[in-house]
């Protein structure tokens, strides 16, 4: 049996590396813990350096480091047994489920938890400013030796404010830029901090007696943590008052005894109109409104000669209330400019004003509108086009064509783009840009994109050349 003295984790790690190299089995080692508060001993732990020098995976070092902070007679011996097995090829030794691995994992968890609780339950007291003394001080008894895990958190939290935390296994103070480690110090209990009094007021008021559930509180806040908190002195009175069934009055009394005033005002005057009581905003002709953010009306100059009709509002359109506003809109912009058109010069709208989707894995997935959605929305589209009276309407996709009254067989989207005279204006049916952007078949994407561009060029030429619908044949094809 060999006695090995150890003070902290990287010291332990160095020694076990040597012990494993010397083939000293765990049963031949007796670990002796030496408390030490030496500044150099407690200084920062450099994970990357350690990983490089021991050739252990970082995740394993992290787990060992946590487990080695567990206060217990087996503090240093159990991790050595595990590491010994691991070195001899038994990789399950460090995993939960293995008898020793389970212990290791549970220790690591217990230490993380203790560190996490310490971050929450430490209470600082302010001290009068004195030269060289930390301004905020706290003492705390953690369940395990976690000060080294917790101190960096408070360095980040407190900025240049100076502070000191003392625990039974050592203390640490910050001068605002770096940590200084030392032996435990005794901190006189200070009473009568004005903020502490305010805090207890807050604690009492934020409690909802209707939801009284002290067991749940105790599950989260075991007694040993609770006693140290100033506000826990109020808990018994709050519980018994709530139990007496006077909860509502109890809660209301301190509040009701303070000076009250009643507001006289009118809700309507404070209400800003962000959605109107008429028009599309209240359209209920199909069920799509129910989960929508916005109905998406068409946009564009009132004298636009070309109108583009898409299928339906998409995810982004729904969020902002504008047609072709998202990624699809940006794609359409490029296609428009390739065809020599500017987005600002055309009118953009959809056949269906609301977004139809289904939710999969909490994501909205685009679904084409059903015929009854197109039918229900037709009136809105017709009204927009009547007011605008464009010379050319480009129908992007089948739903748009259907909404404009074209039957399916009028669509020869594989052929050259063609313009159909319908109800006094030219209609050019083409692909939906979504198909040109997202179809899985690259050849189909290219074809559809070319067709859309050509259709837009055709639209521009029809406008430029001022073909008058009344004196041309019913159908017209331009070679482009």
């Amino acid at each position: 049996m060999q006695n090995v003295h150890v003070t902290r984790f990287d010291d332990w790690l160095r020694q076990v590396t040597a012990l494993i190299a010397a083939e000293v089995p765990p049963d031949d080692v007796h670990w002796v813990h030496d408390p030490a508060y030496d500044q150099t001993l407690m200084s920062c732990f450099d994970m990357r350096h350690v990983a490089a020098s021991t050739a252990l995976p970082i995740a394993l070092i992290e787990r060992l480091r946590l487990a080695c902070a567990y206060l217990d007679p087996e503090r240093w011996s159990l991790p050595y047994r595990v590491l010994w097995r691991w070195h001899h090829g038994d990789r399950s030794a460090v995993l939960a489920g293995d008898p020793e691995g389970t212990k290791l994992v549970r220790r690591a968890q217990a230490v993380s938890k203790a560190a996490h609780l310490m971050k929450g339950f430490i209470r600082f007291h302010e001290r009068p400013e004195a030269e060289g003394d930390p301004r905020f001080v706290a003492s705390y008894v953690p369940e395990h030796d976690v000060l080294a895990f917790v101190a960096p958190h408070f360095l980040e939290r407190m900025g240049r404010t100076t502070w000191l935390i003392s625990t039974p296994s050592g203390s640490v103070c910050s001068d605002g830029t770096q940590l200084n480690w030392g032996a435990p110090v005794s901190i006189p209990s200070s009473g009568g901090d004005a903020s502490e009094d305010l805090w207890r007021h807050y604690y009492r008021s934020t409690f909802n007696p209707e939801r009284l559930n002290p067991e749940l509180m105790r599950a989260h806040l075991p007694h040993r943590h609770g006693v140290a908190l100033p506000e826990s002195r109020d808990a018994p009175a709050l519980i018994s008052a709530a139990r007496l069934g006077e909860s509502r009055q109890e809660q209301a009394r301190p509040v009701a005894s303070s000076p009250a005033s009643q507001v006289y005002s009118c809700g309507r005057s404070a209400h800003r109109v962000r959605c109107s009581d008429e028009g599309l905003d209240v359209c209920r002709q199909c069920e799509l409104w129910e989960h929508a953010t916005y109905p998406v009306a068409g946009t564009g100059p009132s004298d636009a000669q070309i109108a583009l009709v898409g299928e339906q509002a998409d995810d982004h359109d729904d969020l902002v209330g504008e047609a072709f506003s998202g990624p699809l809109g940006r794609f359409l912009d490029t296609v428009l400019s390739e065809a020599g058109l500017a987005r600002e010069a055309v009118f953009l709208t959809h056949a269906v004003k609301h977004f139809r989707f289904e939710t999969r894995q909490l994501q909205r997935v685009y679904r084409s509108p059903a015929p009854h959605h197109v039918e229900a929305c037709k009136g809105w589209l017709q009204r927009e086009l009547e007011v605008l009276a464009p010379r050319v309407v480009v129908a992007l996709g089948l739903s748009a064509a259907t909404a404009l009254g074209l039957s399916g067989d009028a669509l020869a989207r594989d052929a050259e783009p063609s313009a159909i005279l319908w109800a006094g204006c030219w209609i050019i049916p083409t692909w939906h840009p979504g198909f040109a952007l997202r179809s899985k078949d690259p050849a189909a994407r290219t074809r559809a994109r070319a067709h859309i561009t050509a259709s837009l060029v055709l639209a521009r030429q029809l406008v430029d050349q001022r073909y008058c619908p009344s004196d041309t044949s019913r159908s017209f094809t331009l070679n482009v």
Partner: protein, 406 residues
């Protein structure tokens, strides 16, 4: 009115907002810098009140004066409660004092609507701006958005806040029309839509100004009207999808002092709320869909949890062979969580899984024993009917919810 009274009134008025999360914001700190505050990756709880809820943030209203008259709200204009209002500087120094003493992780600030929605939103943002700009506060700030406020004000608020939230309040439009006459579902949804669009923009570009980096959340009141769990969960699913919410909070309706006549005057349905959270968690963390958990209109069963209920009505999936099944399926076994499912898969790469491994992993053995098989274990009662199993596994006494009325 002194600061103690103000704090009492405005904390009591804010306690019906249940969100108290301080996690999800990007890691940041103040080591060696002017100002104070950091964000810990996991969020930190600083205390627990006797209702079992944690205190992580200083949760107060800026004022409980309100021009709206929502009948479920203690602060509605027709309510006879004392009113108070914090000055921005009072709230700023209160937050900093509490923060330095390690009482809180930051501020959760909401408000009644005073003067106008825009004015209220400006005042809320002012507090956040003072904390951030004048005091270089890097702790957590959660701001409630006033849905009716101008979009540009919401945009500004998102630059200072870690999280923005707009409460949908009730799961149906009908409920809002009836109980919150001045609010409109569409307006609330539009505010959420705007927040999501801004968050998307900010995360698409690395150099874009920050906008609500811990996302947005919302809250729904449960039990103030007759809406069933199916509708509630459907609404939640829809909100998650549409606005990429981090969380939907369900708040069991607590009868409020001087309550309006049209609301139930009974203890809050805490167990129902608990079941809704469980279902919500299964959807977010386990890949369940609402349709699987609750295929038809109605409520989740109160006597068994939704995962067990799903397993009992889908016996064809079971018993699951822990030495062969996919991780997602193992995680669907009642009594085994996502984390343990991963641990099982990691361990079985080294060796076969045995029954005692599950005991050591602290899986819930009574629940899972009918649903799994390992190399040394086959369930004895595989042929037992779901009804019989349900009767056996029903939680006659939920340890933490014993005093809850249903």
């Amino acid at each position: 009115m002194d600061i103690h009274q103000k704090l009492e009134i405005l904390a009591a008025a804010a306690k019906y907002d249940v969100s108290c999360s301080s996690s999800g914001a990007p890691k940041r700190g103040s080591a060696g810098k002017a100002g104070i505050g950091n964000v810990a990756p996991m969020g930190v709880c600083h205390s627990y009140t006797p209702d079992g809820r944690c205190i992580s943030l200083l949760k107060v209203l800026l004022t409980n004066f309100c021009t709206y008259d929502c009948s479920y709200c203690v602060n509605r204009r027709s309510s006879d409660v004392p009113r108070a209002r914090f000055k921005a500087d009072e709230l700023v120094s209160l937050t900093l004092d509490f923060y330095r003493r390690n009482y809180i992780e930051g501020l959760f600030l909401s408000s009644g609507i005073i003067r106008s929605a825009d004015y209220t939103m400006e005042q809320l943002t002012l507090v956040a701006r003072k904390l951030r700009e004048e005091h270089a506060f890097r702790g957590y700030i959660h701001l409630k958005t006033i849905p009716d406020a101008d979009p540009s004000l919401i945009t500004l608020a998102g630059q200072y806040a870690d999280r923005l939230s707009a409460n949908i309040e009730l799961p149906t439009e009908e409920g809002i029309v009836r109980l919150a006459p001045e609010k409109k579902v569409q307006t609330i949804r539009r505010a959420m839509g705007q927040i999501r669009a801004r968050i998307d923009e900010a995360s698409a570009e690395r150099k874009a100004p920050r906008f609500s980096p811990a996302g947005q959340s919302t809250q729904m009141i449960v039990g103030a009207d007759a809406t069933d769990d199916h509708t509630i969960l459907k609404t939640a699913e829809n909100l998650y999808g549409a606005y990429r919410l981090r969380r939907v909070y369900y708040s069991a309706f607590s009868p409020i002092p001087f309550s309006a006549g049209q609301l139930p005057n009974q203890a809050p349905p805490l167990l129902r709320e608990h079941r809704l959270y469980q279902a919500d968690f299964l959807v977010r963390g386990y890949g369940f869909s609402i349709k699987e958990l609750l295929p038809e209109p109605g409520n989740l069963s109160l006597d068994i949890d939704p995962k067990l209920a799903w397993a009992l009505s889908n016996r064809a999936f079971f018993p699951v062979d822990l030495n062969a099944a996919d991780t997602w399926l193992i995680a669907r076994v009642p009594g085994i969580g996502v984390l343990n499912a991963q641990r099982i898969v990691t361990l079985r790469r080294q060796r076969k899984i045995r029954f005692n491994d599950l005991v050591r992993l602290r899986c819930q053995m009574t629940k899972l024993r009918n649903f799994i098989q390992t190399v040394d274990y086959l369930p004895q009662h595989a042929e037992q009917s779901s009804e019989a199993l349900k009767a056996k596994l029903a939680e006659r006494q939920l340890p933490l919810f014993t005093n809850m009325s249903v």
